[in-house]
């Protein structure tokens, strides 16, 4: 018999034996093999998931270290420019060094996980500007006292961040803290006041930090981040207020005297308070195609060279199509803003029954005299509009209806809170009524705060009728003729690595002489 025949016959015989064998051996074998496979799969899964978890944990660690370093750098910039009394040139050098340190550190953290990573991947290099959709690997935002006007103007012009030293020589006030924004892209700018109705005003939000533009302005489609904040109407200078939300703005500041004791300071009696509110800009789903410019955005270029007089800080490079759903123009005229129901042309305009109160403002404090609230008033069933504000008998009204807001937008109007002097629910009863500014400045209210409450859903107007479509938010801006709020430079650091993001913020209290202070109530 040939060998192949032997094997063949043996194999056939074996297969036949296995196939025809009776009993439980096959079942036992099957169960055994299945159990082994289950155990093996379980081991393999544990191994893979354990490794992945370790990596995730390591990444989180790296982000924490980066965040702590960014926090240290922010505090260092604040204290170096304040307590140490560094001049502008020193501050610029410190800021640049801190940025370089953080760039290098971010790369180190990334390379610990991915050795092939390079600086450009992080958007940490000086690629300027960051294009929409890109996010820098770290950001330092420092809010503090404004510099002298010429320095602010020069630094705003110097949005490229490369030539901070060029503004050297401008004297920094004693203990000055700059308002700076340092990002991984090399952005480095300062900001302070802007002009409104021909006067210099201070604002909440701080110029360039408004939530309308978003915390990351690049993600909102701006061609450039919020660095050009000299325009009072720029969305970077407005905050959002949605239905059901409230905003509190301190009308006082706390300072530390040289002995470390807390001193409360308020607004001077001659101060002015302006509240501005408006609806958001229509997006390009709205029927505003007639105004083609409104559907486009400007691309601005900021030269590195400071401009001494502050004029022409940016030049227009071109206009690009807006990005649907995410983009809106920096300059949105009243005609392109959403109209609330009832529109000024509607028969229901200012009707007490039809024109809903959208926002109510009040001033609240603590202590015996806790709250000032101007009551709603009407005449012949109609709400007052902004045109009535100069009428002494009518101007006190803390209930802002849709019609008033629509009218406000058209007139580019504002509410001068400091002039309202009647209609408060609580009166001092000591002779003449006091104006709101007197209540605040004379400390009849302890630690007064302006509170804005959005109390009604925001509905659009559709040809004089109420639309079911809701407006997502209103925009507000609070302006003062004097700086108010705490002398506490504030910082906010953000780190983005490995697709994760972490943020920390804090305040640093510094001794003050009492004459200079910051707007820290963001």
């Amino acid at each position: 018999m040939k060998f192949s025949q032997l094997i063949s016959s043996q194999t056939i015989e074996s297969m036949s034996l296995i196939k025809n064998r009776r009993g439980v051996s096959m079942y036992v074998a099957t169960v055994f093999v299945a159990a082994m496979m289950l155990v093996s799969a379980s081991l393999a899964y544990q191994m893979v998931s354990g490794k992945a978890n370790s990596e995730r944990w390591a990444k989180k660690d790296k982000i924490e270290h980066m965040l702590a370093s960014a926090q240290e750098a922010a505090e260092w910039i604040i204290t170096s420019s304040g307590i140490e009394g560094a001049d502008e040139q020193q501050l610029a050098a410190i800021t640049a060094q801190a940025r370089a340190d953080l760039e290098a550190l971010a790369l180190e953290q990334l390379q610990a996980i991915d050795p092939t990573a390079v600086l450009a991947d992080l958007h940490c290099d000086d690629v300027d500007p960051i294009t929409p959709g890109e996010q820098p690997c770290f950001e330092l935002k420092i809010f503090g006292k404004g510099r002298p006007a010429q320095v602010i103007q020069a630094r705003e012009a110097d949005a490229g961040g490369a030539n901070d030293a060029q503004v050297a020589g401008a004297a920094a006030p004693n203990g000055a803290i700059d308002y700076s924004n340092v990002t991984g892209s090399g952005k480095n700018f300062a900001s302070g006041t802007f002009q409104f109705k021909g006067a210099t005003v201070y604002s909440v939000p701080l110029p360039g930090t408004g939530s309308v533009a978003g915390s990351e302005s690049t993600t909102d489609g701006f061609a450039v981040p919020c660095v050009n904040s000299a325009d009072a109407d720029d969305p970077c200078n407005w905050n959002k207020l949605a239905f059901g939300e409230s905003a509190e703005i301190p009308l006082y500041r706390e300072e530390k005297d040289p002995n470390g004791a807390t001193v409360i300071r308020g607004l001077p009696r001659g101060g002015q308070l302006y509240l501005r509110m408006r609806t958001p800009c229509k997006d390009n789903n709205e029927a505003v195609n007639a105004n083609a410019d409104a559907l486009r955005r400007a691309t601005l270029e900021f030269p590195n060279t400071p401009i001494a007089n502050g004029d022409a800080a940016a030049k227009l490079l071109g206009v690009n199509p807006r990005i649907p759903g995410t983009d809106f123009p920096r300059n949105c005229p009243a005609s392109d803003r959403i109209v609330l129901y009832p529109a000024t042309t509607s028969a229901d305009y200012l009707s007490v029954d039809k024109d809903p109160v959208i926002v109510q403002w009040l001033v609240k404090g603590s202590g015996g005299l806790a709250e000032l609230l101007a009551m709603e008033r009407s005449h012949d069933g109609l709400r007052y509009n902004f045109d009535d504000r100069d009428n002494l008998n009518k101007r006190a009204n803390s209930q802002l209806g849709s019609g008033r807001l629509n009218r406000s937008i058209q007139l580019e109007d504002y509410i001068n809170l400091s002039k309202d002097d009647t209609g408060f629910t609580i009166q001092r009863g000591i002779g003449r009524p006091y104006t709101l500014i007197e209540y605040i400045s004379l400390f009849f209210l302890n630690k007064p705060k302006l509170k804005l409450n959005a109390i009604s859903p925001l509905r659009k107007d559709a040809n004089g009728r109420q639309s079911d479509e809701l407006v997502p938010y209103l925009e507000y801006q609070f302006l003062t003729s004097e700086q108010i709020a705490e002398f506490q430079p504030k910082y906010e650091v953000t780190v983005r690595l490995f697709g994760m993001s972490a943020k920390k913020s804090g305040k640093i209290t510094q001794p003050t002489g009492g004459s200079d202070f910051v707007l820290g109530n963001l």
Partner: protein, 214 residues
Amino acid sequence: MRKFVKEILTKKGESLTEVIIAVGILMMILAPAAGLYIASNRASEVSQKSLIAHNLAQEGLDLVRGFRDTNLLRYKTKQKECWLSNQDLIDPNVCQNFVLLSGSYTVENADLGAKLMRLGNENNLSDTLAAQSDPPYNLRLGATGIYSPTATPGDAPSVYYREVNLTLADLNDDGVLNATRTDADRVKVVVKVKFPVGSKVQTVIASEYLYAVK
């Protein structure tokens, strides 16, 4: 009973071919499973050691931060000069001679903040885990469960090695450190923790910047 015994004794057994095939199949199943088991055990060991190493690295950073914070509290009137002072004396006027150098250190908890030791040559480092006593980079596990570079009664050697590397810089002035390093503004802290896995050494690195502020 007799019938049962007789049946067992007379029944034909499995053929040799069947046994060989069965064992072969069993080996084919068990071999990868055993490999997987060993690899899984190794991964588990790495994961466990890595977790401890990350914590030791974080502890290293925290200890140096604590060292800095303690000095800022100690030397309120001379924070700028003394924030990196490495001395035990609490005297706000004599810290200048004890400001740290850039280099490698070992760090441990101390009664007041942390204690940084730089006893020998910082170049005496290698990627091996050979015992080094000067400075003692190898950590020991104390009876209380705390790792420390200093030998104490009842402790036991551990597999972890921790080295703290400091790089001082002067940012606020001319960028160059003076001879006594009292103009240092910033220190870069890099903590390396090493541990063996089989015949290889794994390293966990944590780094942060600390400034002369708090």
